[in-house]
């Protein structure tokens, strides 16, 4: 009679050897399946990422629309700038929900806006932030953009910024550009007049301001006229 133990051991080895190609084939197939499914997943993720980006983009646009709506509601240009800055930072901090809650009260104004401009609006806000950081190239960007879009916000912003910085010649120029696009913006006229005073052309400034006061009876314009005449400006 045989000693069965060694024979059984031998058979176990034989079986392993026999099954080896099957295991290898199985492993290869499994590997290929994993690779294939991973590849498909990556593709899907890419598509999902695109969808998310697209959603984000759309959401941003919606938010920007709301931002713009609020901007229109706020009439004063300086106030508007402050609000814009605030809102942009809110967008950046993903606090848009709060904003949308605030702006729900003015739905009619949404319809007035053209959706195409919304992305441009977003870009403006971002660039305004850059401008606040006093980047010269950023000023150039806004100037170039104004030449293409003729957007009074850009021109007015440049006028105020240059005025604040003491560059009165440029402030005068951009106030004039603003006025060319929309002659009813009082702020641009006031910057224009103040710049002329700063540049030493007081009489010219008084003449322009007087004709404006006669036309509009603006209190702010009257106050400025009083200050210029009495050398209190």
């Amino acid at each position: 009679m045989y000693d069965m133990k060694p024979l059984e051991d031998q058979w176990n080895k034989y079986r392993k050897k026999k099954l080896k190609p099957w295991y290898i084939s199985f492993a290869v197939i499994l590997f290929l399946i994993i690779i294939l499914s991973s590849f498909l997943n990556i593709k899907k993720i890419n598509l999902d990422w695109f969808d998310i980006n697209f959603d984000t983009y759309v959401n941003k646009e919606k938010k920007v629309n709301l931002i713009r709506t609020s901007k229109i509601v706020m009439n004063g240009p300086l106030m508007k700038l402050e609000i814009e800055k605030k809102i942009v930072s809110m967008v950046n901090n993903n606090e848009v929900e709060k904003l949308s809650n605030i702006l729900v009260d003015i739905p009619i104004l949404d319809n007035i806006q053209k959706p195409i401009n919304s992305s441009t609006q977003l870009r403006k806000k971002i660039n305004m932030n850059i401008i606040e950081s006093s980047s010269i190239s950023a000023y150039k960007d806004v100037e170039n953009r104004f030449r293409q879009s003729r957007d009074i916000d850009d021109a007015l912003f440049l006028a105020k910024s240059y005025y604040k910085k003491g560059n009165y010649a440029k402030a005068e120029h951009w106030a004039l550009e603003t006025n060319k696009v929309d002659e009813n913006i009082e702020e641009s006229l006031l910057i224009f007049v103040k710049s002329k005073v700063k540049l030493g052309r007081k009489n010219e400034a008084i003449g322009i301001l007087m004709s404006y006061v006669n036309k509009t009876d603006s209190i702010e314009a009257k106050n400025l006229l009083y200050k210029i005449k009495n050398d209190k400006f």
Binding site: M1, Y2, M4, L7, E8, Q10, W11, K13, Y14, R15, K17
Partner: protein, 270 residues
């Protein structure tokens, strides 16, 4: 207690016992072919095939069947030397023992045979003829030329033996019978018939077609190898039946056991 596999194991002890002869389609054909050739006026008949294809048992079978009709003699193992062979042949031809201290004169033997022509027809079945030398084979040919003695020469089929066949028999042999390895169907019938002959019906039934496929693959249809493999299979079954009965399925021979037997006999390797 004796295992049921003990008897089954012994069924496959390799032997040329005529009682173990199993009639299969292929063996019946070979038998009829050989018998028909022996009836022809041929001097020599070559029976060849690979070892284990059933040459010896066929010669035994034909001798057993025809011994009462013809003068037929079976020389199983080759003589150690020429002297012994002619002693044996002398006894067959003369039906007398050679006197002590005498030797057979070959020329006298040939003359004796020539005198027998037409009176007697003697058939000598020479098994394992590949073991005879060329000189011996030449003398056998001379004896066959007397037409009183007809030789059925059984050879293993190898390249060398084919050469012997060419050299010694090419011009003289009129009939060549080749035995081949069994087909799966023949081998299945062989195994089942062998077991049923010993009334081992349940065990015969436990060897399924898939098992026979595996057995045929391992043994390449060779009867001797088949006997060896089945002997080993039943020996392993016997061991498990005695020591670890849980490892034996009486309804079916486990594939594991067939492979273990094949490993043991070197048909497969680790």
């Amino acid at each position: 207690m004796k295992s049921r596999y003990s008897t089954a194991k012994n069924v496959f002890v390799d032997s040329i016992d005529i009682d173990d002869y199993i009639e299969l389609n292929s063996s019946v054909t070979a038998y009829q072919q050989l018998q028909h050739s022996m009836d022809k006026p041929l001097k020599m008949i070559l029976l060849f095939g690979k070892p284990g294809t059933g040459k010896s048992i066929l010669l035994n079978r034909i001798q057993e069947k025809l011994k009462h009709q013809k003068e037929i003699h079976y020389f199983d193992t080759p003589a150690v030397n020429e002297k012994e062979f002619f002693h044996k042949l002398f006894k067959v031809l003369t039906e007398k023992d050679l006197p002590v201290n005498t030797e057979v004169n070959f020329s006298a033997l040939v003359d004796f045979c020539k005198n027998l022509r037409g009176k007697r027809e003697i058939i000598i079945l020479l098994d394992e003829a590949q073991m005879y030398g060329s000189e011996m084979m030449e003398k056998i040919r001379l004896l066959s030329d007397t037409r009183a003695v007809k030789f059925v020469v059984s050879l293993h089929k190898t390249e060398d033996e084919d050469l012997i066949a060419k050299e010694h028999f090419q011009s003289r042999i009129w009939e060549v019978i080749e035995l081949k390895n069994a087909t799966k169907e023949d081998q299945t019938a062989y195994v089942h018939k062998k077991l049923l002959k010993k009334n081992l019906f349940e065990i015969a039934n436990s060897i399924k077609d898939s098992d026979m496929k595996l057995i045929h693959r391992f043994t390449k249809g060779n009867y001797r190898e088949c006997n060896k493999l089945l002997f080993t299979i039943f020996e392993i079954c016997e061991y498990y039946d005695t020591n670890e009965p849980s490892k034996v399925d009486y309804r079916h021979i486990p594939k594991k056991i067939i492979e273990m037997a094949a490993l043991k006999l070197g048909y497969i390797y680790v």
